[in-house]
């Protein structure tokens, strides 16, 4: 990358990476998760940086904390639920503080475009007592990231940068250069027992000093230009932050705005004065009434969630509706909205050739109770595969399977987990299953990549974020090293053999691990073999439709295979009851 000023359309995630680089970050780690996944991919493109995936968010944040203590500006990236995993180091890093600046980037997913919940991570800032910044657009994402490092060093605390899907994955025009700022300080790595060793005697003092820092931050928040007033011509005031600002500003361009950039601690005094300067003030915020509650506790007269929903994403229509309800906008009765047609939904499906498909077809036939996990393979829960019965959080499959298998004998329990999820938080449950003699069949879908989030490498891939090769971690060897006796590797494209092994292990009253080794058909390289063809012998029984392959359609009572989509995996041929109805050409 050259360092001339460019004008380009960039995403919020790219802006965060550029901001981190300009802000003199040298080290970054994290775990992929929509909508945060692309940040490290952008960051690694810069010279003189170290960017690396961790097995999970806790490991990623701890690596960044270690790098900060070693004197290097660092950051960690994760999705909102990733911060749950990293909550342990987050809470105590507020006590230790930092050496060089440390920023925790969390990307929330209001509307749950690709998540299991829509928790509002602003509460983590209050919970941990850490400053939180919320950009409203790509330019701010770049600028706030630089500011976050300065803030972190000024208060000796990690800063949290909160993005949401519509910030991470929206694009806008930004003028920028990729020169590092001239504000880098030298931080030497110091052995500081009182600062970094959180035994009670030190932590008791550190908690007191954290409380003092937050008081100072409250004063700072009221003075910082990151919390700014945009004067309008009307008599009403809007208090807002993040993406919500854009909807409100577009709908009420003449209102007075208090745009909160430092969401925690809130600039309560400054907002109090703002509210007194307008006739009425409304808080517009996505998800929880975080700002509204902070203000009401301080006795500031504002309204908010009375008019706006607490779930889902906001958008122009929802904000307009709320503004009409509270009387800031006249109801627009002239507008006719076209019909929202009844249409067949187009749910995502496992790709043609996906190696997960045969496993779910087999489980569908064998009917065990399947505790599942998070990844592409969660699609195995959807009809017609319908072969996953729980999905809660990363790594929960094996551990929930342990509990379920311990307390009842009516259902055979199978736990199913992908390779990346296994390395994320599945290894410890596997050890627990062994230690506690759980009678459980564990299937590990080892497709050698983190496919769901766009194909990031993991310990099973044999190459890392920087494309450096290493000997991949062999899951079967790991299971045997733990001490588990019944460990098997299967090739799912060999349907009969895979079925035989899964069926046998489900019916044996012992712990077994089956590692399914076929690689992903999409990543790191697309795999496509010669397509299969349906012959006249097809009896129209629809058995092949039950595997939910996007390449198979049903026309005039016969199956039809789309030659462009078919990857030649042969799974449809394996399940077809008629010899010669589906053939290789």
């Amino acid at each position: 990358m050259d360092d001339r000023t460019t004008k380009a359309i960039i995403s919020g995630n790219e802006a965060v990476a550029i901001g981190a680089y300009k802000g003199n970050a040298h080290f970054a780690s994290g775990y992929p998760g929509t909508p945060s996944s692309e940040i490290l991919d952008y960051f690694k493109q810069f010279k003189d940086v170290i960017a690396q995936w961790a097995s999970n968010e806790k490991s990623g944040l701890e690596a960044a904390l270690g790098a900060s203590i070693a004197g290097t500006r660092s950051f960690a990236t994760m999705k909102h639920v990733g911060l749950n995993v990293a909550a342990d180091p987050l809470m105590t890093s507020a006590y230790t503080g930092v050496n060089a600046g440390l920023v925790v980037v969390t990307a929330d997913d209001p509307g749950m475009h690709s998540s299991q919940n829509e928790q509002d991570n602003r509460y983590y800032a209050k919970f941990a007592k850490l400053p939180m910044l919320e950009p409203s657009n790509e330019y701010e994402a770049m600028a706030f990231m630089q500011y976050a490092f300065v803030l972190s060093e000024k208060f000796d605390l990690p800063s949290i940068m909160r993005l949401t899907t519509r910030i991470s994955h929206s694009l806008g025009i930004v003028k920028y250069d990729t020169r590092r700022l001239d504000n880098e300080k030298i931080f030497k790595m110091k052995k500081d027992f009182q600062k970094y060793v959180m035994i009670p005697s030190n932590a008791i003092k550190k908690h007191k000093s954290l409380l003092k820092k937050i008081e100072e931050l409250e004063i700072y928040s009221n003075e910082s230009p990151i919390n700014r007033i945009i004067k309008g011509r009307s008599s009403v005031g809007i208090i807002t932050s993040g993406v919500s600002y854009n909807y409100a500003k577009e709908l009420l361009p003449d209102a007075h705005f208090f745009k909160v950039g430092l969401t925690y601690p809130m600039p309560v005094e400054k907002i109090k004065n703002f509210v007194e300067s307008v006739d009425r003030a409304v808080v517009i915020e996505e998800l929880e009434p975080f700002m509204e509650e902070e203000l009401k506790i301080a006795g500031v007269k504002v309204e908010g969630k009375k008019y706006f929903p607490t779930d889902g994403e906001l958008n122009l229509d929802i904000v307009k509706n709320g503004l009409e309800k509270c009387g800031f906008l006249k109801k627009d009765k002239s507008k006719v909205i076209f019909e929202d047609f009844e249409l067949p939904k187009r749910p995502p499906a496992l790709c043609p050739g996906c190696p997960h498909r045969p496993v779910f077809d087999i489980l569908h036939s064998l009917k065990p109770y399947v505790t599942g996990d998070i990844g592409c393979y969660t699609l195995g829960a959807i009809a017609p595969l319908s072969a996953m019965h729980t999905t809660v959080c990363m790594g929960a499959s094996i551990s929930m399977g342990i509990g379920a298998s311990k307390v009842q004998d009516d259902e055979k329990i199978v736990s199913i987990i992908g390779d990346s999820t296994f390395f994320h938080t599945g290894i410890q449950p596997l050890v627990d299953a062994y230690m506690n003699n759980a009678k459980l069949t564990i299937i590990i879908l080892d497709n050698r990549i983190t496919a769901m989030t766009g194909g990031q490498p993991n310990p099973s891939s044999g190459f890392n974020l920087n494309n450096k090769k290493f000997e991949p971690v062999k899951i079967a060897s790991l299971a045997r090293t733990i001490g588990i006796k019944r460990v098997f590797e299967v090739d799912q494209y060999n349907y009969e053999e895979t079925k035989r092994i899964i069926e046998r292990e489900i019916n044996i009253d012992e712990l077994s691990v089956i590692v399914a080794l076929r690689p992903c058909v999409l990543s790191p390289k697309k795999i496509k073999d010669e397509p299969l063809v349906v012959t006249d012998k097809c009896i129209g029984c629809k058995r092949c439709l039950r595997i939910a392959c996007p390449a198979i359609d049903f026309v005039n009572n016969k199956a039809v295979i789309d030659a462009d989509l078919c990857t030649g995996c042969n799974v449809c041929k394996s399940v077809c009851p008629v010899e010669g109805a589906i053939i290789n050409v």
Binding site: T34, S170, I173, E250, L316, E339, D340, F341, A349, A548
Partner: protein, 206 residues
């Protein structure tokens, strides 16, 4: 009280199926708008799109744009690579909207699609629309993969910016080895677009 009148912002809604190239098409349009001197915002949803689900993206442009997504009934241009997805976008359109729609239905796993119903509904959509099997035009150029670029050519005939900005955007975004092919496709689209623009808007073109 303020009047929440929409500032002078125009928008394109791209709708299709995972793998249709919606993201690249919307990138080209956004770049063209920027080159023409507009402020631009684009919004897309990642995540499950690679797995054959519905994919959509908004491109909004004007003097100053805040929101990355548009409101119901407010989209000016619809760029749809599939008919069911075009219908799904209906609520965002209004009588002044223009739709460039590829005459194609992508099957959905384990669902029988009533194509007559889809076509009847599409006919009932009260916008100016160009519904055409753009795959045939692409095959004429010798490559089925340039459907979107042909459609972009058609779209460019209706948009308030010079076509040069689109060709410049294509130059910047499309890889060199398929650039000439795509520029040819874009000009082919302009020919189709100029032709349809001069005819009665409300008539479907086949």
């Amino acid at each position: 009280m303020c009047n929440g009148s929409k500032m002078d912002i125009k928008s394109i809604l791209f709708a299709g199926v995972g793998g249709d190239g919606i993201i690249t098409a919307s990138n080209v349009a956004a770049m063209a708008c920027m080159l023409a001197g507009f402020d631009v915002k684009k919004s897309e949803i990642h995540g499950m799109s690679q797995r054959g689900g519905s994919v959509s993206a908004f491109v909004r442009f004007g003097e100053k744009v805040y929101s990355p997504t548009d409101a119901l009934g407010q989209v000016n241009y619809l760029f749809a690579t599939e008919k069911i997805e075009a219908l799904r976008a209906n609520k965002y359109l209004n009588t002044a909207s223009i739709g460039i729609i590829n005459d194609r239905i992508v099957p959905i796993i384990n669902q029988e699609i009533d194509t007559e119903y889809i076509d009847k509904k599409l006919e009932s959509v009260k916008i100016r629309k160009i519904v055409k099997n753009f795959a045939e035009d692409a095959l004429k150029l010798g490559n089925p993969k340039v459907i979107n670029t042909i459609m972009m050519g058609v779209l460019s005939c209706y948009m308030p910016l010079e076509k040069e900005y689109f060709t410049e955007a294509i130059n910047k975004i499309i890889p060199k080895r398929i650039l000439t092919l795509n520029l040819d496709a874009f000009y082919e689209g302009i020919l189709i677009g100029e032709n349809t623009r001069n005819k009665n808007y409300s008539r479907e073109v086949n």
